[in-house]
Symmetry: C2
Subunit: 480 residues, 2 copies
């Protein structure tokens, strides 16, 4: 009898594993339990859907449930929530509207993802408070924007920043958190004519990027009329009821910080995600130091034949060699695929992560990779040195072009490249240029090697020394 | 007394060496002999100047002679042609309008560059036949274009392709050679309303790129109304005189191939370059197997304290470890700089080359790196396997975007990445994406490592698996 491969969770990691396992071993019975209705969707596209650049949620789906079932012969069961695992009996139990079902497995993959963090403050359950973790979140936010744009909730508040997009601003609206989701949603809202306020704990957005990148993005957000409130520890989301002394209005009306109270009609919480680990813990699957599910290099957990991949699991950092939690799409796809390949008979590691990330904020793009934070570098026994340079994105004489800001970090003793953060105008290549540094980091290259990379050059694409090489040259100069 | 560092040639390699040596050791006497008037110019920008996208030749100069002399304290002598070297006496002799001068050196750098190849056929000395190797070539070509655009030489020939740019085509004009210069000049001429014919020996343009890239570029040239003549071995450039039986008209009038005779008013020879080695040979400086000056890893020749760098010299290929001739701007800059650093007291290798190159052709961009040719790979004891993929340049649901074509070559036994060729619409990142592969090649990474690179991803920049990773995934799949 053929083995049964049971997968819990039908997004990037889960469906990559299902597809790869079935393709490599068509005899395998592959069963996927997904509690929702959507599978294999590009959650990274949700901000662009809310913004209105993508017209349907369906466009974010790369493969439909029908295609998985009919073309790939995968037993995909949507609307099924797995509620327990019995590792001794090798079964999972799932609940659906039709009742409870128990399924045996030979191999089990936990690909249950992460949940949006809701900060422990008052008012997060008020109407008008959103997160952006799921397709239904995206749908609700799009509907909110559509309502506002149709004028149903338009106001003329006492505005701070001007709205460039519509004659009359909607809102104001508040975004809590200056990470990827917060910034992308601030853009989506501002571009739709909302007076957008971004609340950032601490003194910079995108804290995992370099200070130079954070500053460039924050400046650009300001240029685009997003009001960025720094050092703004949000204490409470207040309702009109609170404001007016106790009516029944339970819609959010203000964001309250230590020293400010900003009126808002809507709040988007972009305060990060945390791995979903509840199901794993019921089966005595161990968590790692980051709080996500611990695995070996094949993504197998401490429980034999139980794997974990994607946003619920840890990965190994290519620089430190330590477990890290970097819940992003590529890792989920890659590790899911590797598990599928392993289960189908070819043990596959799937590789580490470099903590690489990219973002577009209006007309600026940025990427980061590796270890930039000096304290984190020192904890991993490096002696970090960083340099930031600004260089032209194309030959100086070439018409068009902009500026690339590169921060590069290396170990003083060995010259090993540890991390980088790049920013440029959108289209001027900060993100794709970061690829070279990801490669250098992954291969353990030194900055002396990086500065000698024979990178492609022609005037429409860079200066003779690409900005990446300029950064390497400057940094290596300080290490010799 | 301070050492004297004499440099022959005032372009990329020479002035990089001069600047770096003087910066690192201000006591050094640095003397540069340049036979022309221009120094430190971006020859790569000449096609854009001829096209009219750059308005002055001066814009191509990164540092002026005055700046070198006054701000960098370099004894730059333009209009001085070095005619002999005496390695025993450690002197060079230069001629100028003012007479002959002999200068002693402690360290000597030959940075004399390369000369445009003129094919050994009849008619290359006719009026209207150009090469594009120097600033004065660029000036003459720009003047030719300007005259034609002012109507002085406009005609209404029996045209093949339509001209999209002007109501009346000028020309026809012929470009011989489908390499970088040929293609960039075909664009410069066609964009100015010339009926442009490109003559390519063999069946594809850009022979050092992959066939998929060549085809994409050739198709696009056709779309842009450049008539590409394949398998066109040019036998002769014919004048009107020849055509009409012996008048005095000595301007080019036709390009004659084995089986065709195409009327043209002007010809651009883009048939490659060859290293200038005459001066070196007079001093018994040895040439290598490629015909360029042989050096060690510090760019020192067989003659002690005589260095060679830039387009006159060989470099070591990072994949094969063998000497190669890759006369491009970055190598000249990097190796020149390394010699400057060495002469100033810090021996510096400057690194190998990967044969990386980039080109923009109208609205398509392309890059290549490493070893793509299977025969060349086998000569270097590899067992090459190649795969070509097409992938979307951005998330499928993201508005905008195009297609990236990636050809990836690896060694079957070890999986080592040997080379790559990429093409995309201009702005869709083929060139910057090639950076990752240059890094992989330089670090000796395998395709199994490359497919696990944690490259930056966000919907405006790529699909979750960047096209580079898709190519690696597909190629590695054939090697397992």
């Amino acid at each position: 009898m053929a083995d049964t491969f049971v997968i819990v969770g039908g997004d990037a990691a889960g469906m990559s594993a299902a597809s790869k396992a079935k393709r490599d071993d068509p005899d395998l019975d592959v069963v996927v339990f997904e509690r929702g209705e959507w599978v294999s969707y590009g959650a990274c596209g949700l901000p662009y859907y809310v913004k209105g650049e993508i017209q349907s949620l369906e466009a974010l789906v790369s493969v439909t449930p029908e295609e998985f079932r009919e073309e790939r012969d995968i037993d995909l069961r949507t609307g099924h929530e797995v509620v327990s695992i019995d590792p001794d009996e090798r079964t999972v139990t799932a609940e659906s509207e039709a009742g409870t079902v128990t399924e045996s497995y030979d191999h089990l993959l936990l690909a249950v993802g992460a949940a949006a963090v809701v900060p422990p403050i008052e008012g997060t359950d008020l109407a008008g408070v959103y997160t952006l973790g799921s397709m239904s979140d995206g749908k609700e936010l799009r509907e909110y924007v559509a309502r506002a744009r149709d004028g149903e909730s338009f106001q003329q508040p006492d505005r701070g920043p001007a709205c460039r997009y519509l004659e009359d601003c909607a809102g104001p609206v508040g975004v809590v958190g200056g990470g990827y989701v917060g910034i992308e949603m601030a853009e989506a809202l501002a571009a739709n004519g909302f007076e957008a306020h971004l609340f950032q704990r601490g003194d910079r957005v995108l804290k995992t990027f370099s200070e130079a990148t954070s500053e460039r993005i924050a400046d650009h957000l300001g240029d685009q009329d997003v009001a960025v409130h720094f050092d703004a520890d949000v204490r409470e989301l207040a309702s009109d009821a609170a404001a007016s002394g106790g009516t029944d209005d339970e819609t959010v009306a203000a964001i309250v910080t230590d020293d400010d109270r900003v009126p808002v009609e809507m709040v988007l919480l972009g305060t990060g995600v945390r791995p979903r680990t509840g199901l794993a813990e019921t089966a005595d699957v161990e968590l790692g130091p980051t709080g996500a599910i611990a695995t070996d290099e094949y993504r197998e957990t401490n429980v034999p034949d139980v794997y974990a991949a994607g946003d619920c699991a840890e990965a190994r950092h290519v620089v430190t060699g330590d477990p890290t939690y970097a819940p992003l799409a590529l890792t989920a796809n890659r590790h899911g695929r590797a598990v599928g390949q392993t289960v189908a008979g070819t043990p596959t590691e799937g590789g580490g992560v470099a903590g690489t990330a990219a973002i577009k904020a209006f007309d600026v793009e940025a990427a980061r990779t590796g270890i930039l934070d000096h304290e984190a570098a020192r904890e991993a026994d490096f002696d970090p040195v960083s340099k930031t340079i600004e260089a032209k994105s194309r030959a100086g004489y070439y018409p068009e072009g902009g500026t690339v800001t590169v921060t590069l970090t290396a170990d003083r003793n060995t010259g090993r490249v540890l991390g980088a953060s790049l920013a440029s105008e959108y289209g001027e290549g900060a993100v794709h240029r970061s690829h070279a540094i990801v490669a250098a980091i992954t291969n353990g290259a030194s900055v002396f090697e990086l500065e000698n990379y024979d990178l492609a050059y022609a005037p429409p694409f860079n200066t003779t020394w690409d900005p990446v090489l300029v950064a390497a040259k400057v940094l290596s100069g300080t290490l010799r």
